[in-house]
Every structure is written in C-alpha cells, then in structure tokens.
C-alpha cells in the first residue's frame, strides 16, 4: 500500500517536503508517525514529548482535511492517502 507523506514548515526542514511510503495494509496514523520517528530522530524530538505522546502543536491532515491529533491517531490509512504534518498555521 502506498501512502504519501507531506511535511511543511519546521517539519519539512526535518522530513523533506514529500515522500511516498510503502506500508503494510493495517498501518494507523500513529504507527506511521512512529515509523517516521524511528527513521528520523530529529522528527521524534520535534513531534513527541518525553512520554512518547504527540506534542500539542503537531497538526495533521489526511487528504487535506484536518484530523484530531489526539482522537484520530488510531485511524487506519488507506491506499493512496495523503498525510500532511505541520506546526500551527501562521498565514496572513
């Protein structure tokens, strides 16, 4: 299963803007983030606190819709999903 990961602002600087990941069928958002954390220690530091919880300021979109970073982490990703990772919005 292919999933696209986009990162913006500080997270783009750590992860790069875009990558395609080949995943097992059953992976959840939480599992995907954990994989990224293992592969990229700077991402782990930036996105997770000491207890391993996702930091408050990490925002996530699936297919361009914001998800609740606390409640929706167990959502399983589907083939072709686009997960975007970014810090708080600051346009204007």
């Amino acid at each position: 299963m292919l999933v696209k990961v986009l990162a913006f602002a500080g997270f783009r600087e750590i992860l790069g803007k875009e990558r395609e990941l080949s995943l097992n069928e059953s992976v959840t958002v939480k599992e995907l983030l954990a994989e990224l954390a293992v592969a990229t220690p700077r991402f782990k530091e930036a996105a997770f606190d000491e207890s391993g919880a996702l930091r408050d300021y990490v925002l996530l979109m699936i297919n361009r819709k914001l998800i609740d970073s606390r409640q929706d982490l167990s959502r399983p990703l589907q083939e072709g999903d686009e997960l975007a990772i970014f810090p708080p919005l600051a346009g204007g």
Binding site: L6, F8, A9, G10, R12, Y57, M61, R64, A84, F86, P87, P88, L89, A90, G91, G92
Partner: protein
C-alpha cells in the same frame, strides 16, 4: 479571485476588479512584513492545494454571510523583505458595514484555517511563527 503566488501583486488592479456600479464600499486589508524585534525578512510557505481550497471556502462563506459583490485575495509565498506585502484582501459590498465585516472575516479565518506558515529571519536567527 483567490491567488497564492511568489510574485508581488498590484492592489490597484485588485481594487479595479472589485469595483462595480452596485458596490458603494470597498474595504482592503494589506498585511506587510513588520520589522519587529530585529526581523529582516520572512519566508512564507504554503500547502498550496489545501490553502487554495480553504481560501475558496472562506471566500464563499464571506460572500454569502455579508452579501459581498466581489472578493479578491492574494497571499504571497517565498522570501519577503521588511515592508513587503504578504497578503491582500479586497471586499466590495453595497454598504460599508458589510465590506468591513467581510474583509475582517476573511483575514481572521485565513489566519485560523489556511495552511500557510511564516518563518521570521533576523539578527536573532530564524523562527517559525506560532511554533512554541
């Protein structure tokens, strides 16, 4: 028209497009890079497709809530020096109350909802705005 672009824009052209015979009031918001705290320039980054879609949704909400006649929004990306334009919003309406409210609504919602980020770059280093 909604546009996210690296290029500078002409407010005059935006206002010209917003003029119409049934619009008595045109309100414009222009956001520029401020030299707070040693800032020299800003890098503006967008999640382009998502920001475009969000701004179009905000425009539609503003048009119907405030009976706007025309809406023009441009948000720039890339490297912007102190004093340069970041964003412009032009709203025309029959009367001033609606034009002011519509323009204010769009900038507030843009700041809350549009996936855009700014990095401040100055004599104290670099910092993503809003990142604690």
């Amino acid at each position: 028209m909604i546009e996210i672009t690296e290029k500078d824009f002409s407010l005059d052209e935006m206002i010209k497009r917003a003029r119409s015979k049934d619009a008595g009031a045109i309100v414009t918001f222009l956001g520029t890079v401020r030299d707070d705290d040693g800032i020299e320039r800003m890098e503006v980054e967008a999640f382009l497709e998502a920001a475009q879609a969000e701004l179009e949704a905000i425009e539609e909400e503003a048009r119907s809530r405030f009976s706007l006649r025309a809406v023009e929004v441009v948000h720039r990306t890339g490297s912007l020096a102190v004093g340069e334009s970041i964003v412009a919003i032009v709203c025309s309406a029959g009367h001033r109350e609606a034009a002011f409210s519509g323009c204010r609504y769009i900038i507030e919602e843009l700041k809350k909802r549009a996936p855009l980020w700014k990095k401040e770059i100055g004599d104290k280093g670099e910092r993503w705005v809003g990142r604690t």
